[in-house]
């Protein structure tokens, strides 16, 4: 019988920093918090990282998305795209406003040089 012993060391920060998750700040308004909840629930399946080191189906969204144009983003949400369903039958105007308001709080990742 062979027995190998490995002592594993874990850094205290190992599970407390989100390198790849949606970056958020902690000073959101009530509207942005509502938008964040809606975004995670309704948009996250395509626009958030589903698993460690996985690519997303749709582009990650941030303050530069949709050419930083809120009306363009609103049309995307309401009418969809070739791969995205129209959310106009589900989300109310206030919901869409809240989602956009939240997305505009998400910083552009350092490696991203252009809006997606």
């Amino acid at each position: 019988m062979m027995r190998n012993t490995v002592v594993a060391m874990v850094l205290a920060c190992a599970f407390t920093t989100g390198a790849a998750a949606q970056s958020t700040n902690t000073t959101l308004t009530e509207k942005q918090i509502h938008g964040r909840q809606l975004f995670a629930q309704s948009c996250g399946i395509c626009h958030l990282q589903a698993s460690l080191n996985a690519n997303t189906y749709g582009p990650p969204l941030n303050k530069a998305s949709a050419n930083a144009n809120n009306e363009v983003m609103r049309i995307f949400i309401l009418e969809g795209s070739a791969r995205m369903p129209a959310f106009k039958h589900y989300l109310k105007t206030a919901d869409v406003d809240a989602i956009i308001d939240y997305v505009r709080t998400v910083p552009v990742p350092a490696a991203t040089t252009a809006a997606r």
């Binding site: 989100g18 998750a21 189906y57 791969r83």
Partner: protein
């Protein structure tokens, strides 16, 4: 001679949700009424202390009164919920015994009312009057809810083109939820029915008048209303998803609907003899293999063993042995058997010999009546003797379709034999320890589903070779996770697609079936208590159930949160009390339920007056 590796694990991080411990000796009670003043029975009442991660929930009795168990002093948020009513909220400074009454206002917006429904009521509302609709409903229940609870999908409203786009994605995404990239192969079962399925869903949840007919149900009463739920919030995986510490929708406000599961952590759970709650983390992450929740404070500790990539080894399945150790499937690079010593928080990993299968499939664990550990492998089951540290193996009969024969549940009976479920081929295996041989029990197909199929459908399914856990055939029983009665010769099998429990005599193999009381109930895991009661969590429902096999009486216990998607259930019986523990998977919580006796309620009421 097998190779044994010990990885001394580590307890770290911890206290992410550190909360100060207080003596739990303050009583909170009250009465819940409708706007008319009528007292309401079976209303869910929850309380959460500011800064705490622990939510305690109870139900009102026949007089509309609720009685929370003794709680630590502090400032609490209190809220009451019932289907068809807006959430009523209040805040209470609990420094002695206190009464807090709430009045519920009816919901006037039909869509708000719909979104607060649990998944089982949404599914029940789907149309099935015509053969075509009944087939689409079956497809939805088998092939759409294979990966997520139905309330997640059905909360949305899309037009037919929108549902088509959803199906375009869903039919290529495997059960890890990650899009495999361009050229991904479509699930043939969904691909074939995409057009009528999208149309069916658009009629149900589209822009026009809905084809769904929602029928509400009675609120909890009797034994169900004496339940106390304690839910512990867990931190989300910070490396995926939205990046908040806790779930932005933890299910506690039903009107918010069913949350996303991206970033969730716990898969299987158990209660330790030390009183703490343990869970395994199956989704890839950097921090936790097994988590430990302090039942009094809610503080969460991570116990981590690294995998070969430097991340946390993932874990699946969990069972407690008689000494208080937990056993689980651990993937450090090759899936092995993990043992957690709860006294030292040390993980030891035992690998099967190279000529034996590693652990695998949807690993489920059990301890048999002789103290041996049983675990699923991709093609059968292994037994581990904790004394000699040796494995033995039983294999399923060979098949050309290795994916289809993969093992889901595993269990050990009181005689020391092992059992495993081949979910996609409706077969139960028995590892007979005395002879070393494998015996199989084939579960019969669902005849009503076979009868419903057209010749064209039958021809298609007969030629389909890709059946798996998540791509079942319409007539599949879907034996998933099982439980043995350690005080009888009975194996109970939860048949997810068949809506049945199979009861198998572990000695004679005599098999009978018990239909669940509601056709929307899809059992996932089964646990049996010392009184022979059969406990099961329901994949598609925000409820768990108990069957008393002596009387064939079912009791359902409603969870206090929405979007639960529970995959595991475990029991701890001590001092005459039974605690039922489960990971509330989608909302990223651990849940513990206890049922108070009539005598305990009487005493509590007297103290609260």
């Amino acid at each position: 001679m097998h190779k044994l590796r010990t990885l001394v694990s580590v307890v770290m991080v911890g206290l992410l949700s550190c909360t100060q411990s207080y003596a739990a000796d303050h009583l909170l009670s009250g009465t819940i009424t409708a706007r008319s003043g009528q007292a309401l029975e079976g209303v869910t009442v929850s309380a959460k202390r500011d800064g705490s991660t622990i939510t305690t929930s109870v139900y009102t009795d026949a007089t509309g009164q609720y009685f929370l168990p003794p709680l630590p002093a502090g400032k609490y948020r209190v809220w009451a919920q019932a289907l068809g009513f807006e959430t009523a909220r209040s805040a209470v400074e609990l420094d002695n015994k206190r009464r807090q009454n709430l009045a519920l206002q009816p919901i006037t917006d039909a869509e708000r009312s719909f979104r607060q429904l649990p998944g089982e009521l949404m599914v029940a509302a789907l149309p099935e009057a015509t053969p075509e609709d009944a087939f689409m409903k079956k497809i939805f229940m088998n092939n759409c809810t294979a990966c997520h609870t139905p309330s997640y999908a059905l909360q949305f409203r899309f037009d037919e083109a929108g549902w088509n786009k959803i199906i375009d994605l869903m039919k290529v995404v495997p059960n890890n939820g990650v899009h495999p990239g361009a050229g991904a192969k479509a699930n043939a079962l969904i691909d074939r029915v995409q057009k009528p399925l999208a149309a069916y869903l658009a009629r149900a949840r589209g822009p026009g008048e809905s084809s769904m007919k929602v029928v509400s149900r009675a609120r909890p009463g009797g034994e169900s209303a004496r339940a106390v739920w304690t839910l512990y919030d867990l931190p989300l995986n910070p490396d995926t998803g939205i990046g908040t510490q806790y779930n932005p929708n933890d299910g506690s406000d039903w009107i918010l609907g069913t949350t996303s599961k991206i970033g969730q952590v716990p898969h299987d759970g158990g209660l330790g003899l030390d009183g703490n709650i343990y869970f395994t983390a199956n989704n890839p992450n950097r921090g936790v293999t097994v988590g430990k929740v302090d039942a009094k404070t809610g503080a969460v500790k991570y116990i981590r063993t690294p995998n070969t990539a430097g991340n946390a080894a993932t874990a699946h399945g969990l069972v407690r042995d008689n000494d208080g150790n937990f056993w689980f499937d651990i993937n450090t690079g090759r899936r092995g058997l993990g043992k957690l010593d709860t006294a030292t928080d040390t993980i030891t990993v035992y690998q099967t010999p190279a000529d034996m299968s590693p652990l695998g499939g949807a690993v489920t664990m059990d301890v048999d009546g002789k103290g041996k550990i049983w675990a699923s492998t991709p093609n059968g089951v292994v037994r581990f003797d904790p004394q000699t540290e040796r494995f033995s193996e039983f294999k399923s009969p060979a098949s050309a379709n290795k994916g289809a024969i993969a093992t889901y549940g595993a269990a050990g009976d009181r005689d020391g034999n092992g059992w495993w479920a081949q979910m996609a081929v409706d077969t139960i295996g028995k590892g007979d320890v005395a002879t070393g041989k494998t015996i199989t029990v084939k579960l019969p197909a669902l005849q009503t589903e076979l009868d419903r199929l057209s010749p064209e459908d039958r021809s298609f399914y007969a030629s389909f070779t890709g059946a798996s856990f998540n791509t079942p055939l319409p007539w599949s029983q879907g034996p998933r996770r099982m439980g043995t009665d350690k005080n009888a010769d009975v194996l109970w099998v939860g048949n997810s697609w068949g809506n049945t429990l199979a009861k198998i005599n572990t000695r004679t193999l005599e098999t009978s079936f018990i239909q669940f009381p509601d056709p929307t109930m899809q059992p996932y895991h089964i646990a049996v208590d010392s009184q022979h009661n059969v406990w099961g969590n329901l994949w598609t429902s925000d409820r768990i159930v108990k069957l008393d096999p002596a009387t064939n009486v079912w009791t359902a216990f409603d969870l206090p949160v929405r979007g639960t998607e529970i995959r595991h259930i475990a029991l701890l019986e001590r001092g005459g009390k039974l605690q039922v523990v489960m990971p509330v998977y989608r909302t990223n919580q651990m849940g513990v339920m206890m049922v108070r006796s009539d005598a305990e309620m009487k005493e509590l009421k007297a103290r609260a007056q």
